[in-house]
Symmetry: C2
Subunit: 283 residues, 2 copies
């Protein structure tokens, strides 16, 4: 079993929030993640897990500290796992900007140098991390996935690319059509190269449009209408159109006045967790 090193532990709502580090094979670097274990979790009672993918510049800490999710997860008996948003550290390629390189992994497997040496976030999130979590903690292999902004893109894309891995999907303010917006174009160009065929395989709207019933999972997307990135980077209307074309079970909710911050996430995380719980219970 891969060794993990605990680096912090906090009692929270009767459960435990803990941070760990380990040497990731997928990322070819040391990485940190956080887990919230609800009070119900024990060796005799494994609980389902929500994987949370954060947005640009974030680490495992933003959601754990700011979303107010522990209260609801403790009530519902759901574990939460939050990976970092990219590989990090000396020797890991980076760029002098917040939206590329460290803190901006975009949850894909990079094919282009120098990024491909470490930026294998898809393999990390979908395979390595769940295997490690399920080996070390009293959690089941019943998984949900959610995220914010770049992480909302990640949640939607990884769920559709690996439908056998996740029972339910949600996203806050996702980058819904990255091939058509600056954040996505810049990242895909760097990590995947010039071939836009490769880009489309990581585009939630393109995947949703082409999806068949075997990829369909109950999906909740929440978007604030005062979000400063809504028109330039997020564009959830493309998801809506794609879902209509393919019959994908998407619920897209728009909320007047809410912005791109964790205040928005905190306001609706309870709804998301209850949505996931209902799907996970029905499995």
């Amino acid at each position: 079993m891969t060794d993990i090193t605990e680096i912090s532990a906090n009692r929270s709502f009767g459960g435990w929030h803990r941070q760990y580090e380990f040497d990731s094979a997928a990322l070819n670097s040391r990485t940190r993640f956080a887990v919230f274990l609800p009070p119900q979790a024990s060796e005799s009672h494994k609980v389902p897990v929500l994987y949370w993918l954060s947005g640009l510049t974030c680490t495992d800490e933003n959601m754990m500290q700011k979303a107010g999710a522990h209260r609801v997860a403790a009530e519902l008996g759901i574990a939460i796992v939050a990976p970092d948003t990219s590989p990090r550290g000396e020797g890991v390629a980076d760029a002098d900007q917040y939206d590329l390189g460290q803190g901006a992994g975009f949850y894909l497997n990079a094919t282009q140098a120098p990024w491909n040496a470490h930026y294998q976030m898809e393999r990390f999130v979908v395979e390595e991390l769940p295997a490690l979590i399920e080996a070390h903690f009293p959690v089941s292999d019943v998984r949900a996935i959610s995220g914010h902004s770049m992480g909302g893109h990640g949640a939607l894309v990884l769920a559709m690319r690996h439908p056998g891995r996740y029972q339910s999907v949600s996203a806050f303010s996702p980058i819904s059509h990255p091939v058509a917006v600056p954040w996505g174009q810049q990242a895909f160009q760097a990590y995947l190269g010039d071939d836009q065929t490769a880009w489309r395989q990581y585009d939630a709207s393109e995947l949703m449009r082409a999806s068949g019933p075997e990829q369909h999972r109950p999906t909740l997307v929440s978007q604030g209408l005062a979000d400063g990135f809504l028109e330039t980077q997020l564009q959830p209307e493309h998801l809506e159109q794609a879902a209509q074309e393919s019959g994908y079970p998407l619920t897209l909710e728009r909320h007047a006045d809410y912005d791109h911050s964790y205040y928005f996430i905190a306001s609706f995380i309870e709804q998301h967790l209850r949505f996931h719980k209902e799907v996970l219970d029905a499995r």
Copy 2:
């Protein structure tokens, strides 16, 4: 009316979180504060206010982002106001340490140079800020006060020194007997000088021991038993002894495994807000 400048606004749980700056007379400097206004607040329905005093190194942001308080405040119809933890900026005295100077105002009125030119946090929190809040926002003059660590000290001390200003008091992990611990001794020496008579006037346990019925307000204190500062800096047992001697209405709750972090505050903020609400409603 003193001008205030809005510097951010976020919709949160149907209410609004906003940050403002203004030129404080008490602090002789520009300062920032945050306010959460619940959805019930309107010109025809003024709501009570909880003043929240943060701990060492904090600003107005820690509690607003991490405590998960907006959800409950929105339900109960309570506004929350969070000032900064000291004066700040160029020309404001500081020290090369986290527990003295900027970010460490200790909610007192400094008498010693160079601190006395700006460090008038008691006057700021008790007089200037509420006057400004009540002039600019749809809030009443029904006030509660709470805080964490250094801010728990501040809440207890300011409530007992100015009992006419607050209806209810609570604290998380307060520095309960600052004259006897390093954080308090260092700060009181710097800000108040050598005369320990002056120190005792800002010591919650000393004030509580000497308190009469006119100073008694319903008071809830929560302390985690895995708090790394419990024995060296916090020492809530002194509050308990003082309350027994004077008949002060103190409820002190100890919680196994919880530490000094905002995970502890988040886990019990709902209890604190409901405690305040009950007292405020009974007024």
